[in-house]
Structures are given as structure tokens and as C-alpha cells.
């Protein structure tokens, strides 16, 4: 039994110690906004925040997540950075298929928290772990700049 804090709520979950937080969120807690893309931390679709840092929940074990504040796409709009990022995403019509965008938004929100006025290089460094097959990168970059200006 592990105690997992997700979006400010505490959950008791009876799962294996090595179960990734991704699957606890999706299959145990029913929170499907966080996506499964690769399972090896190569695509970033599963990005959540652990104590405010962007982590890949597909490789974050539940045992390692105990005692850390997990924030997901469902609640990121409650943070100032998250709200600005989501608004910019809407304003600029970033999404296409949308499957990667939860992870993109989580990475972008973590970036803005760390670097409120990111340069293009900052964006490259922070966002290159998040794959978008639809190729929305041009607008993601614009939207991050827009969110930083907001």
C-alpha cells in the first residue's frame, strides 16, 4: 500500500512498488489526461510534475513518488504558469491530434516556472524530450513565448 499525493489529494493505492505512476494515475485512479506514448521516457507524453519538476511518469515508480507532490494535466490550470500555458495553447490553436499535448503543456509549465522569460534555446532544451508526431512544434514555441509575455 502506497500513499500517493496527486493534485493535492492523498490516495492509498495497493499496487506493486515498481508500478509506474503513469499506470497508477490512468488505471487505478482513472485520471486519463496523462498519456502513455513510449514507456521509456523518450516521448514525454506522460509528463507530470513531481514537486514542480517535470518528470516522465512512465518511469517514475510509485515507491519513488511517495512523499512527493504529483501534479497532472487535470490540475495544472490551477497554477499560474499552467493557466497561462493553457490559454496560450487555446489562443494559438496549437493542438492537432492532441495526444502529446498534456505532456507538452506540463513541460512548458515547468519551464516557465524555472525560466519566466525563456529564450528559444531554453525552449529547445526543455521541450526536446516531448515528441509531437503531428508537428505542432512551430506553434508550441510561439505559445510558450506568448505565455511568457502574458
Amino acid at each position: 500500500m502506497f500513499e500517493l499525493n496527486v493534485n493535492g489529494q492523498s490516495h492509498q493505492v495497493d499496487v506493486p512498488a515498481d508500478m509506474p505512476v503513469l499506470w497508477v494515475l490512468r488505471d487505478v485512479l482513472g485520471m486519463t489526461g496523462t498519456k502513455f506514448g513510449c514507456g521509456i521516457a523518450q516521448c514525454g507524453a506522460c509528463t507530470v510534475h513531481a514537486d514542480g519538476d517535470a518528470v516522465r511518469s512512465c518511469l517514475l515508480t510509485v515507491a519513488d513518488a511517495v512523499g512527493r507532490q504529483i501534479t497532472t494535466i487535470e490540475a495544472i490550470g490551477g497554477t499560474p504558469e499552467g493557466a497561462r500555458v493553457q490559454k496560450a495553447w487555446l489562443d494559438l490553436e496549437v493542438v492537432q491530434c492532441g495526444y502529446c499535448q498534456s505532456g507538452q503543456i506540463m513541460s512548458a509549465a515547468a519551464l516557465l516556472k524555472r525560466a519566466p522569460k525563456p529564450t528559444d534555446t531554453d525552449i529547445d532544451d526543455a521541450m526536446s524530450g516531448n515528441i509531437c508526431r503531428c508537428g505542432t512544434y512551430v506553434r508550441i514555441r510561439q505559445a510558450i513565448h506568448a505565455a511568457a509575455e502574458a
Binding site: P16, R26, T34, K35, I40, C43, T72, V95, R133
Partner: protein, 723 residues
């Protein structure tokens, strides 16, 4: 492909909805498949528009949303003529019903080939206009006034501009009882208030806050979660598993063995995948255990010595080339490709003795329904398809192999099951874009004009497997293999197009974004660029001369050249490449600027894409599709290939099936040519089709290296290469 033009002769079908209200749909006469389906189908109580007495307006989407924005664009077409706002409607996916929802260009209810907007352009506006006309008539009858004095706007019919009004909901039942007008007037483009304006996509909010449900996110009461391993070699079979070990994993509920696969079902994916690993499946490789990429390429090369089927012969190209001042020939190669959409393959299925429910994101709902029926013994009408938003498809979800597999598994289970393929399974079990081996030759006269052109492609014929009725010339031609090769934007006085069918051992081939044009435009535009260099003429000027009698092609070419600053000097190691195409009924020119470093590193700087697609529905979506489509194509041209050894796919995830990332993507600017009276074109794949040639030509301009084999950036340009 010849695209069907919108026509008033399309047969409208209007009726009362269950529980009152109005529904409007229409069918395409003259399509044997649709008519046959219609003859057997009961009248379906839904079509494109459903208005219920409570005022709810629902648009039913005949095409599926894979990220291309069709739900929004189709809704704009309906809403424009119905006179409602996009904020007043809801959308829902159409059920499988070929009679109602056929795409005339594809011959079935399917989404692909960049045809959705082309297919909807006429019919959806007619459906909207018909519904609006009847609602206005119903109001006029109630008020006993001339319909011409009534005005419809935002879902309300008013008597005159400021008169009292009745909502569409209030009018729907009465409207449904009226005769269907034979001819409805469509708005002229100048009267459009939605079409041609940038509209927010309907699906964006749910995709930004995580609430939108993809197939992967389906949750059904009592549902369990499973994962699958199929034999890594096509045609092989399951030899043995350690079932005891799999069942010993906590959370594992069931193990299902098929001839060629094993599934482990658990309380959650982690139990299922852990159980699947514990099962340690071993396989009989079967007849294809020796398949290798080198062997497949050898077979294609050999097959390319034969003439194959001649799809086009104009003049005497061989003689023209033989007599030319200069001649050139080349071989172009394109690798097998996986689709790798962000959302791995998944299927949720509940099979019961008397029926089944299927929750899946599919580009072909009727095929999905049939797949479940065939594998469970149920009748198609007993299978309810709940189509889901797709996390990308790129052609992958035009096939239903994974749904067939899911049906074979789920029929053994008493509960609903969501079957998820791991990314490794998604890539190694993908149906692949064919390997293309193309031989091209051309001759130039003394002025640098092309006098003869021959192009022979050797490849698997996807159409022959996927839709034999789509074959042409009495089944002797897969038209996809020459699409983009036969109809170029250019005048070639003598031209020969041949296609040789050569099916690879142990590989199933499938559609992939951009289909024929993604293949052929790389070859045609790459080779045209070679000829320009051979003639010593600037690549844009060379194309201008070739396309002199094609004003729309010239229009996009000149626009892209102008916006990109074509001709302006660039630093050493940097170059621009151009590609011009006519595909999916659209004209597109792309200019891409890249640099190539001493280490063979290709950096993509910026792209300018000019497009003439005829009428534009949602310009913001058009830009997005061209931006994203180009980047998808560049990703492929830079990095993508699937290779085989011992019958197995060697790539398995994004570490070895590399895709373009944020720090590698170019800036892409789209320039739209306003052309509202031209036939409408498709755009979902146009950017992808233009990418490879623009990149190859830019690399040539930057480095002097001519690349004819995709992918480019995995060693061809480097000192020591990749392998």
C-alpha cells in the same frame, strides 16, 4: 485520382428523428457500393444534422478526427448554410453506415487521402442549406407569411430582421414533415461568414486540459486491461509460454493464447505487461524467419528490370532521351516506414453472446464493425462501434488487424477488455509503408528543356490488398503507385510511367500519410532538381519554364520563391531547396532552407509553403496542416526507416525510430493563394508529400551532395556513417 465535384444532383434524404425533430442526410447516387448498402440498410435515424425539439443541434461527423481538424471544418460547412454558430452545436462521430457516410473518393466510409473536405464541400453545405430552408418554411407556414420575409440566424428564424422568432428546436418537428426542396440555393463565397475565416477548433479545449477522451482513455464499468505480444515474424506461430509465471504476477486475471499471439489481462496495464514479460513467449518463425531488408531490396531491384504495367505513355520518351543533348538517369529509394502515432494501438471490446460494443479510434468504422463480426460470429449490426478521437493515425487506423486480433481475444472473455499494444508492439507489428525502388531517366535539349521522361516504380501494391475495387485498368494498375508521378505540374513532351508489382516476403504494406504523392513527389522533384543542375539553370527558373502553361502551379511557385527570398545569397554550407507539386487536388510549393555541417549534421532553418487549395474552409487549420504535415514529412526524410533481420523488425521505440523534435524542427510559414472558385483540394497530406524533395534539394544546394535514398540524416552525409 479524380475527385468528385460537388453536385446538386446528390440525393437528399430528410426525415423525422426518433422522438421528433429533423434529420438531414444525403447519399451519393451512382456509387454501386453505396446503393447496394442502401438497399439492405433500414432507414437510419441519423445523418449529418439532428435537431431535437429541445433545441439541441448535433452534427454527425462522417469523417473521423485524427488531428486534422475535420470535425471543425465539416461543422463550419454545415453551420455556414444552416445559420448556426459553432458554439451552438455538438458533434458526434457517425456510426458505420456506408449508405449515409460514404466518401465518394475512397468508395467507402473512410477517412484518408486528404479527401474529407473535398467530399464534404458540396454535400455538407447542401445538407445545411436544405435543413435551413425547411426550418424557414416551417416557420413561414406557422406565421402564414412568405418564407422570403423570414430570416434565419444563430438557430432562430425571425419574421423580418427584428421580428419575433422561433428556435430551430421549436420548428424541427414541423420541418421534418415538409417535402424536401429539390434545389436549395447555396451562399456565394462573398456571403460566407464562417467559411474562409479562422475558427477555433472544437476539440482544442478538451485536448488542452486533459479531459478529451481518446480510444486509449476509454473506461467502461467492469473493464480489465490487457496487452498483447504477437509473433515477431509475420506468419509465425506461438510455440510456448510460461503461463504459470504469467498468472503468478499479482493483478493478472487471464492469459489468452491465440495461434499467433498471446494476451495477458490484468487489473491494470502494469500487471498485464509484467505478466506478458513473465510469459516469455517463444515462437515458431514460420516461412518468413529468414527475411532481411537486403533480401527484399535485392528482389525489388531484380523486379525493376521488367517493364511492369504501363500507366502512361505519351510520345516516344525512349527515343527522345536517346536523341537528347544530355541525358540523366538515377535510382531513388524510399524505405519501409512505421506510422508511430503518439497513441499506441488500442482496442476496447465487450463481446457478449448477443452483441458486442467496440470502442476504438478508427479511420474505417464499417471495417472495424465487420472485423469484430467476422471474428466473433456476430452479425455486423450486432456490433456497436463507438468511434473515438485518435492520437494520430497517419494511415495506421485504416487497417483493422489490431481490431481483428482484439476480437479473437475478447470473445474468450466475459468482461469488457481494453487491449493496449506497447510501443514496441506498435512498431514491430505495424503494417508498413512499402519500400519503393524507382528508376528515372530524362533527356534535356540544348536549351535545358526536358524532352523525354521515364519513371518506373517497383513496389508493393497496397491497393491490391486493401481495396481491390480501387484497382484500375481491370485490376492491372494500383493507381496509388503512380499518383504524383503521372500528373506532374509540368509539360513533358514525351513521358512514360510504369509500375512493377513486387510484394516483399513477410511484410504487410499499408497506407502512410501522403500515400502515392509522398513517394512520387520525392522522386519527380528530386530528379527535376538534378536536371536543373545538369542544365545549369536555377531550380526555380527551371520549374517556371516547365510549368509555363500551368498558372496555379506558377502562382504557388512564385509566391514561395518570393516569400523565402529565393536567390538571395546564403552563407557557405547553407542552401535552399524547392519542391513543387500537384496532389490531392491542391497546388503546393515549398522552399526549405537548411545547412549541412562538416560532420554531416543537417539543420533545418525555415520553410515557406505556398498553397492553392481552391476554396479555404478554415485557414488556420490549413496552415496548421501544412506546417505539421511538412514537419511529419521532414521527420521521415531525415530519420525514418524500418529494417528487418531474421524476419523481425529491428526498430521498436523512439530511441531507434527517431522522430523530429522541437530543437530540430524548422520554422514553417504558410502562404495561402486565394482562389475561391477553383475546385477544392485536400491538404492533410500535401505538406508531407512536399518534404522529402525540398529537403534533398536543399541539402544539395548546401553541400553539393545529392541524396536519393531516404532517410538522409542517419549517416549518409557523415564521415563514418551510422553503420
Amino acid at each position: 485520382m479524380t475527385y468528385m465535384a460537388p453536385t446538386r444532383r446528390n440525393f437528399l434524404k430528410v426525415g423525422a428523428a426518433l422522438g421528433g425533430g429533423l434529420i438531414v442526410g444525403l447519399r451519393m447516387p451512382g456509387n454501386a457500393r453505396a446503393e447496394a448498402a442502401e438497399a439492405n440498410a433500414p432507414f437510419a435515424p441519423n445523418a449529418f444534422i439532428r435537431i431535437t425539439p429541445d433545441g439541441k443541434i448535433t452534427f454527425i461527423m462522417s469523417h473521423t478526427e485524427v488531428g486534422q481538424g475535420i470535425y471543425t471544418s465539416a461543422s463550419m460547412l454545415l453551420a455556414e448554410e444552416l445559420e448556426v454558430g459553432l458554439d451552438q452545436i455538438e458533434v458526434e462521430p457517425a456510426p458505420p453506415n456506408v449508405a449515409l457516410y460514404i466518401d465518394p473518393n475512397l468508395g467507402e466510409q473512410a477517412t484518408g487521402g486528404s479527401t474529407s473536405t473535398i467530399a464534404g464541400w458540396g454535400p455538407l453545405r447542401i445538407a445545411g442549406a436544405t435543413a435551413r430552408t425547411m426550418l424557414v418554411q416551417a416557420a413561414a407556414q406557422k406565421w402564414r407569411v412568405d418564407p422570403a420575409t423570414c430570416v434565419a440566424a444563430r438557430g432562430v428564424v425571425r419574421r423580418g430582421a427584428n421580428g419575433g422568432g422561433l428556435t430551430y428546436g421549436q420548428l424541427a418537428t414541423a420541418a421534418a414533415a415538409l417535402p424536401v426542396p429539390k434545389d436549395v440555393a447555396l451562399k456565394p463565397p462573398s456571403a460566407f461568414t464562417l467559411i474562409g475565416t479562422p475558427q477555433k477548433r472544437l476539440d482544442t479545449p478538451g485536448k488542452v486540459n486533459g479531459s478529451l477522451q481518446f480510444g486509449m482513455d476509454v473506461q467502461i464499468p467492469g473493464m480489465k486491461i490487457g496487452t498483447v505480444a504477437a509473433c515477431p515474424v509475420r506468419g509465425g506461430t506461438l510455440r510456448q509460454i510460461d503461463e504459470e509465471a504469467a498468472r503468478a504476477v499479482p493483478g493478472v486475471i487471464d492469459v489468452v493464447k491465440l495461434d499467433d499471439a498471446v494476451a495477458v489481462i490484468g487489473d491494470h496495464y502494469w500487471a498485464a505487461i509484467t505478466g506478458l514479460r513473465a510469459a516469455a513467449a517463444q515462437w515458431h518463425d514460420g516461412p518468413h524467419g529468414g527475411v532481411s531488408t537486403a533480401g527484399i531490396i535485392d528482389a525489388l531491384k531484380q523486379a525493376s528490370d521488367s517493364d511492369g504495367f504501363t500507366a502512361l505513355k505519351r510520345g516516344d520518351p525512349h527515343a527522345a532521351i536517346a536523341g537528347a543533348a544530355k541525358s540523366l538517369e538515377a535510382v531513388y529509394e524510399l524505405p519501409f516506414l512505421s506510422h508511430a502515432p503518439m497513441e499506441p494501438i488500442n482496442t476496447t471490446l465487450h463481446v457478449r453472446p448477443d452483441g458486442a460494443d467496440l470502442w476504438v479510434g478508427t479511420q474505417v468504422p464499417p471495417r472495424a464493425q465487420a472485423a469484430v463480426a467476422k471474428n466473433t460470429g456476430l452479425k455486423p449490426e450486432q456490433v456497436t462501434v463507438h468511434n473515438q478521437y485518435m492520437g494520430g493515425a497517419f494511415g495506421r487506423r485504416l487497417d483493422v488487424d489490431s481490431i481483428e486480433q482484439a476480437a479473437r481475444i475478447a470473445k474468450n472473455l466475459s468482461y469488457p477488455v481494453k487491449l493496449i499494444w506497447s510501443r514496441e508492439e506498435d512498431i514491430t507489428q505495424d503494417l508498413l509503408r512499402p519500400y519503393y525502388y524507382d528508376r528515372v531517366a530524362a533527356g534535356l535539349d540544348a536549351d535545358g528543356k526536358i524532352v523525354g521522361w521515364t519513371h518506373r516504380t517497383t513496389c508493393s501494391w497496397v491497393m491490391a490488398r486493401w481495396a481491390p475495387p480501387g484497382m484500375k485498368e481491370g485490376g492491372k494498375l494500383d493507381p496509388d503507385t503512380v499518383e504524383g508521378a503521372m500528373e506532374t505540374p509540368y509539360d513533358f513532351p514525351a513521358q512514360l510511367n510504369q509500375t512493377v508489382r513486387s510484394e516483399p516476403d513477410g511484410v504487410i504494406t499499408a497506407w502512410w500519410r501522403g500515400v502515392g504523392p509522398t513517394h512520387n513527389i520525392f522522386v519527380v522533384e528530386g530528379f527535376v532538381d538534378e536536371l536543373a543542375a545538369e542544365a545549369g539553370i536555377d531550380p526555380v527558373d527551371f520549374r517556371r519554364r516547365l510549368a509555363a502553361r500551368n498558372p496555379r502551379a506558377l502562382g504557388v511557385l512564385n509566391l514561395a520563391a518570393e516569400k523565402s527570398g529565393w536567390g538571395r545569397k546564403l552563407p557557405k554550407g547553407t542552401g535552399r531547396g524547392v519542391s513543387l507539386q500537384f496532389a490531392f487536388n491542391s497546388y503546393v510549393a515549398t522552399v526549405l532552407e537548411v545547412s549541412v555541417s562538416d560532420r554531416g549534421e543537417v539543420a533545418l532553418h525555415q520553410a515557406h509553403v505556398a498553397a492553392d487549395v481552391g476554396p479555404v474552409v478554415n485557414p488556420d487549420t490549413l496552415r496548421a496542416q501544412l506546417q505539421g504535415g511538412l514537419i511529419f514529412g521532414l521527420s521521415m526524410a531525415m530519420f525514418n526507416e524500418i529494417t528487418h533481420a531474421n524476419g523481425r523488425v529491428l526498430q521498436s521505440n523512439f530511441h531507434d525510430y527517431r522522430v523530429l523534435r522541437m530543437n530540430e524542427a524548422p520554422d514553417v510559414t504558410v502562404h495561402i493563394v486565394d482562389n475561391p472558385t477553383a475546385p477544392i483540394g485536400g491538404v492533410g497530406e500535401a505538406g508531407t508529400a512536399s518534404a522529402s524533395a525540398a529537403l534533398a534539394n536543399a541539402i544539395f544546394a548546401a553541400s553539393g551532395r545529392r541524396l536519393r535514398r531516404i532517410p538522409f540524416a542517419t549517416g549518409q552525409l557523415a564521415e563514418t556513417g551510422r553503420s
